[in-house]
């Protein structure tokens, strides 16, 4: 199922790029993101029974790194450009509906993302998940989707209704990072039952999370630096 979905995502993206001019870096980023998702869902990290460190390596890749790559692929922008006008308009209307507007708010999306992690790691769910491969896959897909939503909301590469200012998006990112760091420390101080390598897993979550968060912050501020508004504000004399 996941193989079919990922292949479809790759093929439809490539087909869409053939209908418009599209930067090859975006295509590369999208394909790399999909490959990473495939690797984590099929590869070795999925099979670490009860091993929190192996699990955490997989989660970092699928919940944080892959979302950044997928967001940089700008799939919504591509769809809006490549779809026939009628469908593109429908998609644009969908993006403006209240549920999408609420879900793509950086604070809401970030809260959903880290909220899910808190439920996962502060309940018995983590223990059951590490011993049930089916449940593990399900949780991984959930982590991918919420991580993607949060990263998309913060970076806002694709058109977003009522895009918030850079400071607000940076604050949402920092708040999410803080919740992530506190959770990692709690996991270290008070590991859940039925889990081994808990301390190493928690350290990996903390350190790896920091690296990815800083990269996302750098992407966000760089995007602001080159934005039309910031450039104009910097060059118009008083």
């Amino acid at each position: 199922m996941t193989a079919v979905g990922l292949t479809a995502a790759a093929i439809s993206y490539l087909y869409a790029t053939s209908r418009t001019t599209w930067p090859v870096t975006r295509t590369g980023s999208w394909l790399a993101g999909l490959a990473l998702v495939a690797f984590v869902l099929a590869g070795p990290p999925a099979h670490g029974h009860g091993d929190l460190r192996a699990h955490m390596a997989g989660h970092l890749l699928i919940g944080m790194v892959a979302p950044v790559l997928l967001v940089l692929g700008a799939p919504v922008t591509l769809a809006l450009r490549a779809l026939p006008r009628r469908h593109a308009r429908r998609l644009a209307r969908l993006l403006r509906t209240p549920p999408v507007r609420v879900l793509t708010d950086p604070f809401v999306a970030t809260a959903l993302d880290v909220g899910g992690l808190w439920v996962l790691y502060r309940t018995g769910l983590v223990g059951s998940m590490l011993h049930d491969p089916g449940l593990h896959q399900l949780v991984s897909v959930h982590v991918l989707l919420t991580g993607w939503l949060a990263t998309a909301a913060v970076l806002a590469v694709d058109p977003t209704p009522h895009r918030r200012r850079v400071a607000a998006r940076a604050a949402a990112l920092a708040a999410g990072m803080a919740a992530h760091d506190v959770l990692a420390k709690l996991l270290y101080a008070d590991p859940p039952a039925g889990v081994h390598e808990a301390a190493a897993g928690a350290r990996l979550m903390y350190d790896g999370g920091t690296v990815v968060h800083v990269v996302v912050a750098a992407l966000l501020w760089r995007q602001w630096y080159v934005s039309r508004d910031a450039v104009r504000a910097a060059t118009v004399p008083a």
Partner: protein, 152 residues
């Protein structure tokens, strides 16, 4: 495009950039030198309660976010050709001193998140931590004031 003269809001942005970078850099120094290299501090020393743990996580996220934001604002200030070294360094020292004082007083003593070092008498270390913070604050304030009076 004409050469920009004084773009409104630039001088405040210069100070904000310095404060953010100062606090962020001090946090990074703390983490890299004392946690990673010297191993004086501990990731979690089990003596502090949840409050300390939360404060540590918040501080970590805040300092890294501040560093990145401060660098971006600094780049923007330079693009606006409004960089004033004395004022900027004043703000950096002020930010660094603020962080150091917070770390020394609130984290180490009030919340007892972690100590400067373990297995030694702490008085000297604590004194160094706090007075270092105060010195940085005073130096930063002096530089800022000098920069302001020198400004056109």
């Amino acid at each position: 495009m004409t050469a920009p003269q004084a773009v409104p809001g630039s001088s405040r942005r210069l100070v904000v950039s310095g404060l953010l970078l100062g606090a962020g850099a001090m946090g990074a120094v703390d983490e890299i030198v004392f946690h990673q290299l010297l191993h004086w501090h501990h990731f979690y020393d089990r003596a502090s309660g949840t409050a300390g743990l939360v404060s540590d996580g918040l501080l970590h996220a805040a300092t890294w976010s501040a560093t990145v934001a401060g660098l971006a604002l600094l780049a923007d200030v330079r693009r606006r050709r409004s960089f004033a070294p004395v004022r900027w360094w004043g703000a950096v020292l002020l930010g660094a001193g603020g962080f150091q004082l917070w770390d020394g007083v609130v984290d180490h003593k009030v919340l007892r998140v972690h100590q400067v070092r373990y297995g030694v008498d702490l008085t000297g270390y604590d004194l160094a931590w706090v007075s270092g913070g105060v010195l940085l604050l005073v130096a930063g304030a002096l530089l800022l004031a000098r920069g302001r009076s020198a400004a056109p």
